[in-house]
């Protein structure tokens, strides 16, 4: 009897959502339903959510009210773009390699309740396949100008011997109060090379929970560049399984937080086999009362010898009231590996600020220059020139708006 009365917090959330019309299987639906019933809503007691509270989700209006407009930049000058406005796919022109229906989308393969929620209430399903013919940059533009729920499910496949760039560009109106809950599955086949760039420039009251599930086959390379520029709460769970030998994995992240922004990047690289390389670099600045959480985990399995894995997180506090929680983790079961991890938190070098000011730079320009230099290390890792210059511009804007 008690069981029946106990109301799950997921149910509170689901009351605001409209079930998806997409034709996924009954099996998947059942599996998702079960997962949502069996899983407790994450609280701070849960190790993975220790520094991030989702209580604010329940205060979102879900009223579809309009917030005005947002100017949406085209990041890559050579990309084909697909527009997803307030959750709904808008473009109808066909792009080679891109499908906007369900068809062969993978269904429930992960045990994450937010992934289950994403499936049941999915607002857009997009499949992108790079092969030797389809190599043009694909840009998914998520434009959010209404207080909605936006649940995109994206499947990206990079076929053998192919290359690709995907830009996931989330842009929200300044006062937007949406709930974004995105799942992205990425399949990197043998000898394939793919980079996914994610830009999260959300409205100041937007909640954005995202997960990427990546599988890498032998001799492949995968790069994820994550840029958290604005939003009330941003949580990314990047999960990479390196299943084949001779793989390279790069995770780069930059964040510029101010106001009451809360940003949380959880990353996991699972080195299951030998002879692989992974490198992670997340850097950011934390201003005002904002908070950054970083939790990076590298697993090296028992027989995964000769792994080189590097992980680093560096933070600059620009205010006395910002918070940083950083936890780099290594779990190594092999005995012939080279791994390192580190985390630093500090303030801007006052002496450098003074030096620059004594040459005529305003305090703002001096700090901006130093922050750009600090984040420059991450941007150097970004090979896509258009993406890099967009982010550089955003760092300048970050200071302008203060």
């Amino acid at each position: 009897m008690e069981e029946v009365l106990k109301k799950n917090k997921f149910d509170d959330l689901r009351a605001h959502l409209k079930p998806s019309q997409l034709p996924f299987s009954d099996d998947a639906r059942e599996q998702a339903e079960r997962l949502l019933k069996e899983t407790d809503f994450p609280t701070r007691k849960n190790e993975n959510w220790k520094y991030t509270s989702l209580n604010g989700l329940f205060k979102l209006p879900f009223n579809s009210e309009s917030n005005g407009s947002v100017s949406v930049p085209q990041i890559s000058s050579s990309s084909k773009r697909i527009f997803i406005k307030n959750g709904q796919i808008e473009s109808d022109k066909s792009i080679p390699g891109v499908k906007t229906n369900w068809e062969s989308m993978p269904e429930m393969s992960e045990k994450n309740p937010f992934d289950a929620l994403n499936l049941l209430y999915c607002t857009s399903a997009i499949e992108i396949v790079f092969d030797q013919e389809n190599t043009v940059d694909i840009e998914l533009v998520f434009e959010n100008t209404e207080n909605n729920f936006v649940f995109p499910r994206t499947y990206i496949k990079c076929c053998k011997q192919s290359r690709g760039n995907v830009i996931m560009n989330f842009q929200g109106a300044e006062v937007n109060e949406s709930f974004i809950n995105a799942s992205t599955y990425i399949e990197v086949e043998e000898n394939a090379h793919i980079t996914v760039h994610k830009i999260q420039k959300n409205g100041l009251n937007t909640f954005d929970l995202q997960r990427e599930y990546v599988n890498q086959a032998a001799n492949s390379s995968f790069t994820m560049n994550t840029f958290c520029l604005s939003g009330r709460l941003t949580r990314n769970d990047l999960n990479i399984k390196v299943n084949g030998r001779n793989c390279e994995t790069f995770m780069n992240g930059a964040y510029t937080l101010k106001g009451k922004s809360h940003c949380d990047n959880h990353t996991t690289v699972d080195h299951k086999v030998a002879h692989c390389y992974s490198k992670e670099l997340y850097k950011g600045v934390v201003n005002d009362r904002s908070t950054n959480v970083f939790n990076g985990k590298v697993f090296v399995r028992k027989d995964a010898q000769k792994i080189n894995a590097f992980q680093s997180n560096a933070n600059i506090l620009l205010s006395e009231t910002g918070t940083i929680n950083s936890k780099p983790e290594l779990e190594i079961y092999a005995d012939d590996v080279k791994c390192s991890h580190g985390s630093t938190t500090g303030q801007l070098d006052e002496e450098a600020v003074f030096y620059l000011r004594s040459r005529g730079l305003s305090e703002k320009s001096a700090k901006e220059l130093l922050v750009k230099a600090f984040l420059g290390e991450v941007l150097e890792e970004v090979e896509h020139e258009d993406v890099r210059s967009y982010i550089e511009g955003q760092i300048e804007l970050h200071f302008d708006a203060q």
Partner: protein, 251 residues
Amino acid sequence: MIEIKNVHANIEGKEILKGLNLTVNAGEVHAIMGPNGAGKSTLASILAGREEFEVTEGSVTFEGEDLLDLDTEERAHAGLFLAFQYPVEIPGVSNVNFLRTAINETREAHGEEPISAKDFMALVREKSKIVELDSKLASRAVNEGFSGGEKKRNEIFQMAMLSPKLAVLDETDSGLDIDALRIVAKGVNSLKSPENASIVITHYQRLLDYIVPDYVHVLYDGKIVKTGDKNLALELEEKGYDWIRAEMQEG
């Protein structure tokens, strides 16, 4: 150009400058010498606007303006330049990049248009020659991995780029070998004009062989206690500061 009147300054409650007076006119080179702890670097610091130092009494008028009322960058815009005793290394910030911002913000403060990329690069080429600074060095990150001599040459290069009215050189000779000293001095001399002036703060007379001062002042215990021409520097080199100390105690 600059008039420093009865300046008293504290750091962490300790009085360092105790009524310093100094007037510098356009076209002049003034050397300030003095023993350790006399307040030489404190003088440079209050002129540049370091916040740790508190001026408790007196005034500094620069080109008719109350200097102490200006922010550090406003002092630079007004034409004041400080060559640091210990130039700061700033990884990731390119030398020319930041100088361009500095020049443009100064021009903006004067209501002028920003400098064109072409003119700027021409200026970099012209001015880097003055201090024999490799143009590669000019475009590298500010002072990062520079030798002591390169850092000081970079200070003079920046000074040349910004063409200040008044340059304050804070122990620019410290840590320099004789060749670097000559190059730095040559740079300073070539920037000399009837419209600008410099204050050279130094510990040793050596630098003054190359940068010939119009006036030499002895700073002792927070005050200027003696003023003369370049021969005073030679006398100090020969006799040290003890005779000044003795003279002070007699007085």
